[in-house]
Amino acid sequence: MTERIDIRRSEDVVLVRQRVRALAVQSGLSLVDQTKVVTAASELARNTLDYGGGGTVDIEVVNGLRRGVRLVFEDQGPGIKDIDAAMRDGFTTGNGLGLGLGGAKRLCSEFSIESAVGKGTRVACSRWK
C-alpha cells in the first residue's frame, strides 16, 4: 500500500509528518523508530519544498522479509551539484542548520539519494523494524 502526498506548501510538511506517523504505527515500528522516521520525513519534506521547489512523497508500508516504512521524495527542482558536500553536517545553501540530509540519513535504516542538475532530486529512506 502506497500513499502519495504533494508537497507544495508549508502545511504539507505537517501533513507528511502525520501520514508517515500513521503508517509507521500501522507497520508496527516501535515508538523510537516511529519518531526517527517521522523526524527524517520532516527534514526531507522541508528540503523538497525549500530546495526542490516542491514535489511529492510516496509513503509505503513494507510487509515482506523486512517490515517497516519506506519513503521516496521526488522533485523536479534544480538538483544538487555536489551530493557529498550536501550530505555533510553544517553544509547549507539556504538558511538552515545544514543538518537536514546528513541528519535524515542517520535516522533511516537505509538511505539513498540521486540528483541531476537541472532535473531534480530523489531521496529514498526506509526504517525497518
Binding site: R17, T39, D89, G96, G103
Partner: protein, 130 residues
Amino acid sequence: MDRIPILKLGDVLLVTIQVDMQDQIATALEEDLTARIVSSGARGVLIDISALEIVDSFIGRMLDNIAAISRILDADTVVVGMRPAVAITLVELGLSLSGVKTALDVDRGMALIRRRDHELAIDDADDDSD
C-alpha cells in the same frame, strides 16, 4: 495563521506548544516571545514541549534561538517535558541543544528559573554591602 499563546506567571513567561507546528508558527513564536520578554520584563521563559511528538532541526533551531535571545535580554529559558523518544532522535539527528537549559517537567523548570533569580538577588545584596 495560528499563533501559540504566551502566558505570564509572575515574572515567568509560559509557553505550551500543543500543535504540530508548521515552520511559520515557530518563527512567529520566536518573534512574539522576544517582544513579550521586553514588554513584560520577564526573568524567565518556560517552554513546555511535552505534547510535541518530534523536534526536527527547524524546531531545534527555534529553541536554540529563543534561548540565545532571552539570554541577551536577561531572561533564562528552560525547555521542559521532552519525550524520551524525541531526545534519542534529536541526538541522532545531530542536535544537542547545547545552548538550551532543560528540565524534566514544569515544576523543575520553574525551580531552575527561581534559583537563578534568587542567586542574582544574593549577588545584588552582596554588591550593596560593599
